[in-house]
């Protein structure tokens, strides 16, 4: 173990990836324009208090946060990882002791002058923690037992956030874990064993599916011949999970059940979540190929869109800018993701590689869940769209994730500094 004299390395700024930075700025600017449009008709006391200006200020704060996180040496992050994790766990528990917001959710820490959503920053911490663990030399990819600790680290955070309750964020944590597990070189069979319960839970709602899944699971387990005890334990464990799933389902909050149910049919509840999705789809569909033009979205400006400057910001973009612009935005996202994946492959150290993969997955899952929600193929879990949705904590988190990616890809020329 060797730590430098200073936790910061300003030398890193020289090798910052301008492609990523440039594309992120482009996305942020389009996002700001959309927020401007979405909140155009909001009653605000002055322009300074408009969501657009607030978000612009948050943009600068986030950029500062990005640079701050970026100049921290990777080795320092590695050293701090488990302390960060501990602090992170405390921060996501704190909201449970701060009730009285008039809602029954425990997501926010009230600092008096403003509120922070600690589960957002926990995404960054979880990535650092997992990257640290998977990059340790003692981690053997062919031994399942080494996966137990990261699994516990992930499930602990996931569980707490799920209780807040915040289904969306817990899904993000799981996605981060899945991506990093895959990139860490874990054996596919191990990934199967870990992901099997998730599929089991989904299959448990349908008897035939559950039966077919059980058979398939049995075959896969048998083909990967282990000792008889592990095989039976794996299989039976899943079966038991499948059997208690209905019990857990009944324990869910009705709004969570409702959100999951309306995923399959947006018209189930035309007044609630289904109504939102319906209006969102009308907004997007009516945008057509070229869109209605900036500030001309009728769904947006007549406020038929729910949460239009936060969760449903994509509907504003699609309505006003149309299919062709959305495809361009998709292209930017995809280029970024592929660019990052290639960097993750090219970097020498696993820690850096995993920071990139973890952050990429966090951003990807947000994009997919959010856009999927606005176009009616994913449940309404209330996840915002990176770089677009209004919200300070979230924008900072996104920039933090970018910092991890930039950081992961840096410090790659040890010869120069050794």
């Amino acid at each position: 173990m060797s730590s430098g004299d200073s936790p910061f390395s300003f030398e890193k700024l020289r090798e910052i990836d301008f492609v990523t930075l440039f594309l992120i700025f482009i996305l942020t600017i389009i996002g700001l324009m959309s927020i401007y449009s979405a909140s155009y008709n909001y009653a605000v006391s002055s322009f300074i208090h408009s969501p657009f200006v607030k978000q612009l200020i948050w943009g600068f704060i986030s950029l500062f946060f990005l640079l701050l996180l970026f100049v921290i040496k990777k080795t320092f992050l590695q050293e701090l990882a488990y302390y960060l994790y501990f602090i992170g766990i405390i921060l996501i528990i704190v909201p449970f002791f701060q009730s009285g917001h008039g809602t029954n959710t425990n997501r926010w820490i009230d600092l008096g002058f403003f509120q922070i959503q600690s589960s957002e920053y926990m995404k960054i911490i979880l990535i650092i923690t997992l990257a640290k663990y998977f990059s340790e030399t003692r981690y053997q990819t062919d031994q399942f037992r080494y996966l137990i600790i990261p699994l516990i680290l992930t499930l602990l955070t996931t569980g707490i956030v799920f209780m807040q309750p915040d289904l969306g964020t817990s899904i993000v944590y799981l996605a981060i874990f899945a991506g990093m597990l895959f990139a860490s070189g874990a054996k596919l069979y191990h990934i199967f064993v870990i992901s099997a319960p998730v599929i089991t839970i989904i299959a448990a709602f349908h008897l035939t599916s559950f039966f077919i899944w059980g058979l398939l699971m049995g075959v896969i387990i048998l083909l990967n011949h282990r000792n008889i005890f592990t095989m039976v334990a794996t299989f039976m464990g899943n079966i038991i999970v499948g059997l208690i799933t209905p019990l857990v389902w009944n324990g869910l909050k009705p709004y969570q059940q409702q959100r999951i149910l309306t995923m399959f049919n947006a018209n189930l509840d035309p007044q609630g979540a289904g109504y939102q999705v319906l209006q969102s789809q009308i907004a997007i569909g009516s945008g057509g190929f070229r869109g209605k033009g900036f500030l001309n979205g009728t769904q947006t400006h007549l406020r038929f869109l729910p949460e239009q400057h936060t969760d449903f910001i994509f509907s504003v973009v699609a309505e006003e800018l149309g299919f062709v612009s959305v495809m361009l935005i998709f292209l930017v996202f995809l280029m970024l993701l592929i660019h990052w994946a290639r960097q993750a492959y090219r970097v020498r150290d696993t820690f850096g590689s995993l920071l990139i993969v973890g952050a990429s997955f966090a951003i990807l899952i947000h994009i997919f869940i959010n856009i999927g929600m606005t176009i009616g193929i994913m449940p309404v879990t209330g996840k915002p769209l990176p770089f677009f949705s209004y919200g300070g904590s979230f924008l900072m988190t996104c920039y933090g994730l970018i910092a991890l990616i930039l950081s992961g890809a840096s410090e790659q020329i040890p010869a120069k500094y050794s």
């Binding site: 173990m1 060797s2 730590s3 080795t75 590695q78 050293e79 998977f134 990059s135 340790e136 030399t137 981690y139 990819t141 991506g179 895959f182 990139a183 860490s184 070189g185 209006q279 789809q281 009308i282 907004a283 997007i284 569909g285 009516s286 945008g287 057509g288 190929f289 009728t298 769904q299 400006h301 007549l302 406020r303 038929f304 699609a318 149309g322 299919f323 959305v326 495809m327 998709f330 996202f333 995809l334 592929i338 994946a341 993750a344 492959y345 970097v347 020498r348 150290d349 696993t350 820690f351 850096g352 590689s353 993969v357 990807l364 997919f368 856009i371 999927g372 176009i375 009616g376 193929i377």
Partner: protein
């Protein structure tokens, strides 16, 4: 710090890239589906979203009388409507409405349920509110989001006239009966003609509603009206009736306290000048929804005020029908009018006795005398020579047993009992001469509507013109800006010679103009009145009184039928009504 070598393999890198691409393809396909494939649908929905469409009801066509005096026209009622998607379950709004409209919330909600179409369409919860309620609603507008007051044209009838059966009335289509009208583009809450001329001429009177487009946001707040999209309503077409408003009003007054009806018709063209059926309900009561109390009292009324006695009711025509057998006998050369029979006051057929109305008898009487005195015994003798088939044939010349084709809905056809009918009713041998004798004097199985009788009278007066009685002369077509004259078919009864007609007419003349005719009281100087009294036997109570007739004065070419239910004899009750009507019209028009 020790860190392992990068563990991300090339294979897994490609897997990740493929995963990213696949996820974005999924999103893109769905977006293509929404924004390109289904674009037209969503574009329409977005437009539907942004406008609240407010219907501007079309004024219904006006009904004018033959001198272009308005008979049925429009006034405004104010209705309270709500927009369901704004109100949703807001009980405070319902409670405020309940206070203002002085009706309980469940009552209002019942109306709401009845008229509900969809979340975005104004739904009427109360009709015809008074000025006080109207001003209250305007005053409390700010705390009544989604509540609106719309004015709607309602029907108004010329002062002094009711004529419920003539005009009919309008009613709202509700959710229960919308299926009947859905093909013609009606929706719940629309006004439609339910009875009478309002129903018969619905398509002409209806007009086309206009639409206002009011820009609204999701909260239902107005952003002003988009006038470029407004479509103005097109008023319905006006009807020009053949009715004479003053005569109609006067004739209605003659039935004060009576039930029955009368028709006065021009026997040169079939135009009806007066059409009164009593009792009836003022159509204004139905306009904008009849109150529950009134409706149930109407339904329970034993006098059946919803029953149009002139076209829906079927009565035995009584002695007014005697001209049919007389005509058959003469035309078929079975008798000459000079042939006499002796009336002793009754007639024996086998072991049954058939009475004449005059107990002391008419003595020796010829055909003229028999018509003039309405001698039953003469016709008992006559019909046995004529026979059922001739009687049926001559009845059929006047189209008894068939609807006349008047421009009113639900016309009854009456019953003309031919051999087939009698066989099916009584069995092949179950009927005989007794039945025939009854038919000769218009009793028994034969049933006619008053309308059929006036048509028959007109055919006699015009010596064989079988007209289609009608109430509307022309329709003002607003689109083409011209009057369209309606044509109604007329036929000529060719089988009867003028000589025969003249004999019958002479008989009817004597009824009124002889010093001993049964209707000598109706003799009005200058009108050359012909007539025939009749009594329709009524098993349920006092007999109904008939009087039919016409004026022989070519400047007064009118035939008429007068029915007074439970009026006893025709000469006693029906003839005086006819006389007053004729006198009134003579003074007005001659």
């Amino acid at each position: 710090m020790a860190s392992t070598e990068n563990r991300l393999s090339l294979g897994r890198l490609y897997t990740l890239i493929i995963l990213f691409i696949v996820l974005f393809i999924i999103l893109s396909v769905r977006l293509y589906n929404l924004q390109i494939t289904n674009y037209p649908d969503f574009a329409t929905e977005a437009v539907n979203n942004m406008y609240r469409r407010v219907e501007i009801p079309a004024p219904r066509g006006i009904m004018f009388d033959r001198y272009s005096e308005p008979l049925v026209y429009n006034t405004s009622h104010f209705d309270v409507v709500i927009y369901p998607y704004v109100i949703r379950g807001d009980s405070a709004v319902w409670n405020r409405l309940s206070l203002i409209l002085e009706k309980s919330v469940p009552e209002l909600k019942k109306n709401y349920d009845r008229n509900y179409i969809n979340r975005y369409t104004a739904t009427r919860i109360e009709s015809n509110i008074d000025f006080k309620m109207l001003s209250h609603i305007q005053e409390f507008r700010s705390v009544l989001p989604g509540v609106d007051v719309v004015s709607r044209p309602a029907r108004k009838i010329r002062q002094g006239i009711i004529s419920g059966h003539l005009f009919g009335y309008t009613g709202e289509i509700n959710r229960d009966n919308i299926n009947r009208y859905s093909q013609q583009n009606y929706k719940p809450g629309d006004i439609i003609g339910v009875k009478g001329l309002e129903k018969q001429y619905e398509q002409a009177l209806r007009g086309k509603a206009g639409l206002r487009y009011i820009k609204v946001n999701a909260l239902g707040q107005d952003f002003g009206e988009d006038f470029s999209k407004t479509s103005q309503p097109i008023a319905g077409n006006d009807l020009y009736l053949t009715i004479d408003a003053e005569l109609q009003e006067y004739c209605e007054s003659l039935y004060d306290g009576l039930s029955g009806g009368l028709i006065m018709m021009d026997y040169t063209n079939g135009e009806i000048l007066a059409f009164v059926s009593k009792p009836d309900i003022n159509p204004e009561h139905f306009s904008g929804g009849i109150s529950h109390e009134l409706w149930s009292s109407v339904l329970q009324d034993t006098l059946k005020p919803l029953f149009n006695r002139l076209v829906q009711a079927q009565y035995p025509p009584g002695s007014t029908y005697k001209m049919v057998s007389a005509l058959a006998a003469i035309e078929e050369n079975i008798i000459t009018p000079d042939l006499t029979f002796h009336c002793s006051g009754s007639y024996r057929l086998g072991n049954r006795t058939f009475m004449c109305w005059k107990k002391e008898g008419h003595g020796k009487t010829d055909l003229y005398g028999a018509i003039k005195g309405s001698c039953n015994v003469y016709f008992y003798n006559l019909i046995q020579r004529v026979g059922l088939n001739n009687w049926v044939n001559y009845s059929a010349f006047f189209e008894f047993g068939r609807p006349s084709g008047i421009d009113l809905p639900e016309e009854a056809s009456g019953i003309l009992p031919d051999e087939k009918y009698m066989d099916s009713r009584y069995g092949r041998n179950g009927w005989g001469k007794g039945n025939l004798l009854n038919l000769a004097i218009g009793q028994g199985e034969v049933l006619t509507t008053p309308l059929q009788l006036v048509r028959y009278t007109a055919a006699i007066a015009s010596q064989g013109k079988l007209l289609t009685p009608h109430l509307v002369r022309s329709i003002y077509d607003r689109n083409q800006d011209k009057l369209i004259y309606l044509s109604f078919p007329e036929k000529k009864i060719e089988q009867v010679s003028p000589k025969s007609w003249q004999i019958i007419i002479e008989g009817m003349k004597r009824v009124v103009q002889s010093s001993d005719g049964t209707a000598r009281s109706v003799n009005i100087a200058g009108l050359d009145i012909h007539g025939k009294t009749g009594t329709a036997q009524n098993p349920h109570g006092e007999d109904h009184a008939w009087f039919i007739g016409f004026s022989g004065n070519p400047r007064f070419p009118y035939s008429f039928v007068v029915l007074v239910e439970n009026g006893g004899s025709g000469s006693g009750k029906a003839a005086p009504v006819a006389k007053k009507m004729l006198q009134f019209y003579m003074e007005k028009n001659l």
